[in-house]
């Protein structure tokens, strides 16, 4: 199947396996009593995705899910075992040389650069290997350093930078070549809250600034993906489990609208709420200062009847809000555990 002309990124049944190193043997006997592990490890398992130009696309998954492997293939650093991948309509295997001027990548926690050079010199070096003229490179470097708040460190050797400052420099490196398609692999890893927010703001602005710019982001931070991405793919053990807009994904896990009511203590008798027409379920939690009611509804207009019933029963409503599921809820629903890899059901 050929590439779709409109897609910025497309993968068809993309698979990547790695051979495991063989354990050493002595006279034909394995040293370890453990049973042998499979000869191959499947990092990506028939992944099919399509990212449109101008889209800010997120990949969410735990460590070892295959996110970085996918990015390495799309950035022409790794060959797929089977399947095909296209970036800007070009095949990552046979047309890698044509893809490279159009892309760039930033990985969280990377240690690239030369410690003997300062921030500006390092960024200049990486701009030059993309053929960016020196004067243009310096203009872009100034702009990017200002965005990440690193202007004062422009003349500091990178061996003297903190981890967060180094990460900011790496972030700048990805943008100074003005790529058409940018891959950000955990770009805010290790950054403080303020810097991470500034970077998220810039990323959003960068994609909208020029039509056709596309950004593929991987992140551990669910809120980051929720805030930034037009669409998100949830990936685990090399397989894409779901791919949709964050709001649509969240709707999938919430079968019934959920409302939370906070009541002043004193009144009682909320068990009957579950029997009201249109109400699916209700739960009550009493705290020293409030009574928390959670009501899930079969039909959303039933919230009026619920409020009426509470008031009639002498309840004093302090607050009422609709509870939206988070991407984390979606993730747990699909993967069966949180991003830390612990099975929620075992807790």
């Amino acid at each position: 199947m050929g590439p779709t002309a409109a897609a910025a990124i497309r993968t068809d049944e993309l698979t990547r396996t790695y051979s495991r190193p063989r354990s050493r043997q002595w006279w034909g006997r394995r040293r370890s009593a453990q049973p042998p592990s499979p000869a191959e490890f499947v990092a990506l398992d028939r992944v099919s995705l399509e990212v449109q130009p101008g889209e800010l696309f997120g990949l969410l998954g735990p460590n070892g899910a295959g996110k970085t492997t996918l990015i390495k293939i799309l950035t022409t650093l790794l060959a797929p075992t089977s399947g095909r991948a296209f970036v800007d309509g070009l095949d990552v295997v046979t047309q890698a040389d044509q893809i490279r001027p159009r892309i760039n990548m930033v990985s969280g926690g990377e240690s690239s650069g030369y410690g003997i050079l300062n921030v500006r010199e390092n960024l200049w070096l990486f701009a030059r290997i993309y053929g960016v003229p020196t004067s243009v490179a310096h203009e872009r470097i100034d702009r990017m350093l200002e965005v990440v708040g690193l202007t004062e460190k422009a003349r500091s050797r990178i061996s003297h930078l903190s981890t967060g400052q180094r990460q900011k420099m790496n972030f700048c490196r990805g943008f100074i070549t003005d790529p058409k398609i940018l891959f950000l692999d955990e770009p805010t890893l290790g950054l403080d809250v303020t810097s991470a927010r500034a970077i998220r703001g810039f990323v959003r602005e960068w994609v909208r600034e020029k039509p056709g710019r596309t950004l593929l982001l991987t992140t551990h931070y669910m809120a980051e993906a929720d805030e930034l991405c037009d669409r998100v793919a949830i990936i685990d053990r090399g397989q894409v489990l779901a791919c949709d807009a964050p709001a649509a994904l969240k709707r999938r896990v919430q079968k019934y609208p959920l409302y939370a009511l906070s009541l002043a203590p004193g009144a009682d008798g909320w068990s009957g709420l579950g029997q009201l027409p249109g109400v699916h379920q209700s739960t009550v939690t009493t705290t020293p200062t409030t009574v928390e009611l959670k009501v899930s509804l079969r039909e959303e207009p039933a919230i009026g009847a619920v409020v009426q019933a509470v008031v009639n029963a002498g309840g004093h409503i302090l607050s009422l809000q609709k509870v939206e599921p988070t991407l984390e809820d979606v993730f747990i629903e699909l993967v069966g555990h949180g991003l830390n890899g612990v099975d929620e059901s075992n807790r």
Binding site: Y18, T68, T69, K72, T75, T76, L77, L78, A79, D97, R100, P101, I103, N104, M105, S107, E110, S111, S112, G113, Y114, I116, L117, E121, W124, L125, F126, R128, I129, Y130, G131, V132, P133, V136, R173
Partner: protein
């Protein structure tokens, strides 16, 4: 912005990658002691040994030239051959591979940077050695000397560029190989003595090492000494070695990139 031509990208990458080496030369002072004073001490050992034996004065010159050229050889081994391996470990290699710049441009930059910085060290060793030990310089032609020197560098760094690819492929094994080869190569290349004293067959085998032919030719030109082969033949040999090594480096690099992409070795092995 007009996209740069292939040659433009090659040159931009070469200049950019030369820059960190030059910066190191000016910003790091430790090399002054480690790589100038210490080699001069080694030269002194052989110089006094030759004097005590009443050897021709040119022999002291052989040692000084040997010490100067050895700095290039060490740079080729440790600075050049190990460079891609180091670039991978530091996370730079993936950016070079992912960029539109040809890897040969990056390697050329490494070689140019290495040559330039080592030239400064070699010059310091030569000048100190010549002044301290009163080495008689009597070249047939300074231009011939310069030509042979540049050709030797081309062959040496061509070999370094080829090694750079192989080292990346072999990983840690390559380091053991370098350690294993270091002393035999000092011996076979005639660092501290004229290689013509070897049996002819051994000397010819040793000529595969660019350092052997280069030093022998330079000694013939600079001290009008007897050599292994006529200078013209050695120049042709050096040119041949340079061409072979550069072509081999290019082929190795292409092979390495494809294999590393298949095996996932361009970044971290298990990534």
């Amino acid at each position: 912005m007009t996209p740069p031509s292939s040659l433009g990208l090659f040159l931009a990458a070469a200049v950019a990658r030369t820059y960190p080496r030059l910066a190191w030369l000016f910003r790091s002072r430790s090399w002054l002691v480690q790589e100038t004073v210490l080699p001069v001490l080694a030269v002194a050992t052989f110089a006094y040994a030759y004097r005590s034996m009443n050897a021709p004065a040119a022999y002291t010159g052989f040692v000084v030239l040997g010490a100067a050229m050895t700095t290039f050889w060490l740079n080729v081994l440790w600075g050049m051959a190990a460079q891609l391996y180091w670039e991978r470990d530091s996370g730079n290699l993936e950016h070079y591979v992912m960029s539109p710049a040809p890897l040969m441009g990056v390697l050329t930059g490494m070689a140019l940077g290495g040559m330039t910085t080592t030239l400064v060290r070699a010059t310091a060793i030569t000048v100190t050695g010549v002044v301290l030990f009163d080495v008689p310089l009597n070249p047939t032609s300074w231009w011939a000397l310069l030509g042979v020197f540049l050709l030797t560098l081309a062959a040496l760094y061509g070999l370094g560029m080829m090694f750079a690819s192989l080292f990346l492929l072999w990983g840690r094994e390559a380091w053991h190989l370098v350690n294993l080869l270091q002393e035999p190569i000092y011996l076979l290349s005639g660092t501290n003595f004229p290689v013509a004293i070897f049996p002819r067959a051994v000397a010819l085998v040793a000529s595969v090492i660019p350092l052997t032919l280069g030093m022998d030719a330079m000694r013939q030109v600079l001290f009008r000494a007897e050599g292994l082969l006529p200078v013209g033949v050695e120049v042709l040999g050096l040119a041949g070695l340079a061409a072979v090594f550069l072509v081999a480096a290019r082929l190795c690099l292409r092979y390495l990139e494809n294999r590393a992409k298949r095996e996932g070795r361009l970044t971290v092995r298990w990534q």
